[in-house]
């Protein structure tokens, strides 16, 4: 049961590409909400000041679900995102906002590490339009020591979402010395291909030293490029790099003719040539949700 119902510690308006979601309503702004807390304890958490504390240790906003939806509509925002910390710990709050938002024609997207049971995931899928799931690594030992939870439940949860037919993208923050083992990256990509399909977008992110791990260097770009090469080599069709810009891996390419159909500069959409989900050049279907 959440201890932070109605009291987020972060309220922000962000580009949807920041979640990151690249195949869901590109260019839309989201109302991003987060409360304090997390059910994991990743040692390299970029938001640890909010995730590794109790709600009473922070100064929070007061935002009941009805108010959140009303304010989103007032500000012309069509997507509400549950992100930054871990929406699992404010699941009830997120669910209530999502139900209201859905009934009012808004979309709901979630960025989560998805360490939760299957049944609530299925409930969640009924009101959520897209998930950006953090698959932090592919080693049980790594997950237990660095993330603080076993890996298998996360993998099962990801497969559940796929089974429910909700749009899914995967995110892995690559942290120097912790999870940049290329053998494990390959195993992870193979698992994704086998269990989720080649068309699930995958994002490899660059770690930036801040606060807690501020003496660790940021991820080398060549390491990220290696991760991407491995993913493409394994057969995954949509592989992106985030926190690195400008870079060719920010763009979306048609899997068939390799034309860049969406161009991005970091989180900013600079052009979108997809027409009704189809490549303008070779007419290949590009998977994703491109319109409201």
């Amino acid at each position: 049961m959440t201890m932070a119902y109605g009291n987020p510690c972060i309220i922000s308006i962000d580009p949807i590409e920041k979640l990151p979601l690249h195949h869901f309503l590109p260019g839309e702004r989201t109302l991003s909400i987060a409360t304090a807390g997390c059910n994991l304890r990743c040692l390299y958490c970029q938001n640890w000041q909010q995730s590794q504390v109790r709600p009473d240790q922070l100064r929070n906003y007061n935002l009941p679900p009805a108010e959140a939806v009303r304010k989103a509509k007032e500000n012309g925002i069509k997507v509400i995102a549950y992100t930054y910390t871990e929406p699992v710990v404010f699941w009830e709050y997120a669910m209530d906002i999502s139900e209201r938002a859905k009934s009012e024609g808004l979309k709901n997207v979630v960025a989560t590490a998805l360490f939760m049971n299957r049944e609530p995931i299925k409930e969640w899928c009924k009101v959520t339009d897209a998930f950006a799931v953090a698959l932090k690594g592919f080693d049980e030992d790594f997950y237990l020591k660095v993330v603080g939870a076993p890996l298998k439940p996360v993998l099962d949860a990801i497969v559940t979402i796929k089974g429910e037919g909700v749009w899914l993208e995967l995110v892995t923050l690559i942290v120097p010395t912790l999870n940049d083992n290329m053998k494990q990256i390959r195993e992870m990509c193979l698992w994704i291909r086998r269990n989720l399909g080649a068309q699930v977008p995958v994002h490899f992110g660059r770690f930036v030293p801040e606060y807690k791990l501020r003496n660790l260097p940021r991820t080398p770009v060549t390491t990220l490029e290696q991760c991407r090469d491995i993913a493409l080599d394994v057969g995954l069709q949509f592989v992106y790099l985030f926190n690195v810009a400008p870079h060719d891996a920010n763009h979306t390419y048609c899997p068939k003719c390799k034309t860049p159909v969406i161009r991005r500069l970091g989180f900013k959409l600079t052009s979108n040539e997809i027409q009704r989900g189809i490549c303008p050049k070779c007419k290949t279907r590009i998977p994703g949700i491109w319109q409201l």
Binding site: A36, R59, Y61, T177, L216
Partner: protein, 767 residues
């Protein structure tokens, strides 16, 4: 010549044997101080805390030794002195090993510094045995060599060590070698003491063996402990370069195709630089219509390179305080990656940025200062009213100033922690009419002066973060934007958020059309009222989850006049002394007062000196050496003065301290208007004066206590403890906490008055 006051075994000729006590104490202090700062963020509070722990535990050691000597008269003091030297050596090497291995013990993940509570524990464990031994050694030495003589010798030893460290040794020797040299000297002189006063074969052998072991083992200890530290900090990284600098040891680690440069265990920067750095530099230069002459303070590598690549730039002056970093890093870069360092338009100046700006003759179009978060007095100098005024004078009429380095407090910390950045913003407004905040990480504050008469400003060159405008400007001057990501700094929501939060000190709610407009605190940050470094200390404590910030926040809200409620304290001590027949209470309070006020005054001299002349390690080291010289000189003067040991002499000393502090306040008040040479002489003079007053307090108080019937060893231990405790109070409570809260003037006034009241109390007692 025999010491007529003490009648002890030592003669003046043998007092030089105890200079090594001062040497080793100074070296251990400097080395361990620097080692401890590799583990955590170096804020003014952490620096003061280390000094405070050092002084308190040294005081405890001397107190314990004096009690021991009083209770056990049969023990041979020279032998115990020598044994303590052996222990000191062991403790010092243990401390180095413990500090560098603490990350391993605590199983910290790579890159993570210690939390505040972990760091406190490590500091206690590493420092307390050494400090205890140093404090105890002093008392044992004093018992057979005379307290005043040993005090003087110790002070001279500290002066010599301080000067050698500042001017020479820190640049050429690593920390373990420094310890080894000073400890070997101390062991050898302790051996001499044993041979001279209480010969003992096995002790002599142990001392000789220890000396040899230390000298032989130190390189191995250095390598082993460094590897342990770096294998925990960055496993799989390869150390490809290192060097010693007065500002901290420099280590360059290669990880994949990146070079990461660390100073004192903290990541300075990584090469190649992110494209965001170049984007930010170009964004700054796009704020000026003709950025021909650029001054860059700090910002190795990517900043300089990007500035040189900007069209219209004709010359770049780059100021870097530490030549060691470029000297080590540049040869490690591939040739084509270091071409920028040899660009004929680039002039490099190795000096303090602030003193460079003060001497600028030709104005600059753009001045960029790349600073760290203002957590110490030294860094705070780049965020003060006086500095901003100096920058404004050094800019051309439409010149732009960019200050990069302020961190944002994490979301949810609340408005209290937003006050720090708001304070910097309002301080900037005292020198500039327009300030715009760039949502970089850390933040960049852009500022501009008003236009002088006769100059026309092109209205297209207002400060702006409008992406389209910036792209137009870039296109207009032929800047290739293909490799830039200006959107990282021009997202309208983020721009609105950071500008609101910095300019108001309130958290931003993006859902509210009308944001709150509430009057907040009107603090400004200045050289002598360094509010920002105190607020930074609170922020970093909060980020380290250390909960005493509630207490410090309460202090922030307390009215300034409350400190005057402490002024009856001397009278209370006098009354207590009378009621309990402990006549030594007032002298003890007096020596504590003089010592704490002396320490505070020393810190204020340093603040003023740094604000005027910059922070060059060698100069600061020399100033401290002057203080220590004064310490020795003051003790020597009292020793030679034929006084009757009455408390009235102590009253005179307290009175003199109060007057000196007041005189210093007067001088500091007018210092901005007098030539630099005179300021330097006055600073040096007052360092000697304050050192002399503190130095005189010790032997005088010992003699007063003896006159009041307190046994000599007990008196020595008690007075030395209080002397050091006073130093700790001066450093931590007065220097790190009250000085930024009250401001230098208010605090010096209070301290002067307190000293005068203490003098009055001594007079009451003397009657």
């Amino acid at each position: 010549m025999q010491n007529s006051h003490s009648g002890h075994m030592a003669t003046v000729k043998s007092l030089w044997l105890f200079t090594s006590l001062g040497c080793v104490s100074q070296v251990c202090q400097v080395v361990l101080f620097r080692e401890l700062l590799t583990l955590a963020e170096g804020t003014e509070l952490t620096i003061a805390f280390i000094l405070g722990v050092w002084l308190v535990f040294t005081a405890l050691g001397s107190f314990a030794a004096s009690r021991f000597l009083s209770a056990h008269k049969g023990f041979s003091a020279p032998r115990i002195y020598a044994l303590l030297s052996l222990l000191l050596s062991a403790f010092a090497f243990f401390a180095i090993w413990f500090i560098r291995s603490s990350r391993v013990f605590l199983s910290l993940p790579p890159g993570e510094p210690l939390s505040a509570s972990q760091w406190l524990v490590v500091t206690f464990v590493a420092l307390s045995p050494i400090c205890f031994a140093v404090g105890a050694q002093f008392v044992f030495a004093a018992s057979f060599a005379g307290s005043a003589g040993v005090y003087i010798a110790e002070s001279f030893g500290a002066v010599i060590a301080g000067v050698l460290l500042s001017l020479l040794l820190l640049q050429f020797l690593d920390h373990t070698s420094l310890l080894a040299c000073s400890l070997s000297l101390h062991l050898l002189l302790s051996l001499w003491v044993v041979l001279k006063f209480r010969p003992n074969a096995s002790l002599s052998f142990a001392l000789s063996l220890a000396t040899a072991l230390i000298l032989v083992a130190s390189p191995f200890v250095e390598n082993f402990t460094q590897l342990r530290f770096w294998s925990s900090m960055l496993p799989s990284g390869k150390i490809v370069g290192s060097g010693n600098s007065v500002y901290g040891s420099v280590t360059v680690v290669r990880y994949s195709d990146q070079l990461s440069v660390y100073q004192s265990g903290h990541l300075l920067f990584t090469l190649p630089e992110q494209s965001e750095t170049a984007s930010l530099v170009h964004l700054i230069l796009l704020q000026h219509p003709r950025p021909n002459r650029i001054l860059l303070v700090g910002g190795f590598g990517g900043w300089v390179k990007a500035a040189l690549e900007h069209p219209k730039v004709v010359g770049v002056d780059w100021v870097e305080v530490d030549p060691t970093v470029p000297k080590i890093v540049l040869p490690l870069l591939p040739e084509k990656k270091r071409v920028w360092a040899f660009d004929p338009r680039l002039e490099i100046h190795f000096t303090d940025g602030r003193s460079f700006i003060r001497q600028v003759r030709r104005p600059y179009d753009v001045i960029i200062v790349v600073a760290s978060d203002p957590t110490t007095a030294a860094i705070n100098r780049f965020f003060t009213q006086e500095f901003f005024a100096e920058v404004a004078k050094s800019l051309s009429p439409v010149g732009v100033f960019a200050l990069h380095g302020l961190r944002e407090p994490p979301s949810g910390f609340g408005e209290f922690y937003l006050m720090r950045n708001n304070c910097v913003y309002r301080t900037l407004l005292t020198a500039f009419c327009e300030v715009l905040v760039v949502p970089s990480s850390p933040l960049t504050l852009l500022s501009r002066c008003p236009v002088s008469q006769g100059e026309q400003i092109d209205s297209q060159f207002n400060l702006t973060l409008h992406e389209h405008t910036l792209l137009q400007r870039a296109k207009g001057r032929g800047l290739d934007i293909g490799g830039l990501n200006l959107f990282a700094f021009t997202d309208p929501v983020q721009v609105e958020r950071v500008n609101y939060e910095v300019k108001t000190g309130l958290p931003f709610n993006p859902l509210e059309r009308e944001q709150k407009k509430v009057k907040r605190f009107k603090w400004l940050n200045s050289d002598m009222n360094p509010m920002v470094y105190f607020l930074s200390s609170l922020l970093w404590l909060r980020m380290g989850n250390l909960d005493i910030t509630g207490l410090l926040e309460a202090l922030l809200m307390t009215p300034r006049w409350v400190i005057w409620l402490l002024s009856p304290l001397p009278l209370i001590f006098w009354l207590l002394g009378r009621l309990s027949s402990r006549s030594w209470l007032v002298p003890i309070l007096t020596v504590t007062c003089i010592s704490s006020v002396g320490m505070l005054a020393e810190l204020t001299v340093l603040l003023l000196f740094q604000s005027r002349f910059g922070t060059l390690f060698q100069q600061v080291g020399l100033l401290f050496a002057l203080f220590m010289f004064g310490l020795a000189f003051g003790a020597l003067t009292i020793e030679r003065w034929r006084h009757d040991g009455s408390v009235l002499a102590l009253s005179a000393l307290a009175f003199a301290t109060g007057i000196a502090v007041f005189a210093w306040w007067c001088c500091s008040f007018v210092s901005a208007k007098v030539p630099s040479l005179l300021v330097a002489i006055v600073c040096g003079f007052f360092m000697v004066v304050f050192g002399g007053l503190v130095g005189a307090a010790f032997p005088l108080t010992v003699w007063v206590l003896k006159h009041l019937g307190v046994e000599m060893n007990r008196a020595t231990g008690l007075v030395y403890s209080c002397d050091l405790l006073g130093g700790a109070i001066g450093a931590f409570l007065l220097g790190a906490v009250l000085l930024p809260l009250l401001g230098t003037s208010n605090l010096l006034w209070f301290c002067s008055a307190f000293c005068l009241l203490t003098a009055l109390t001594c007079r009451l007692q003397g009657r």
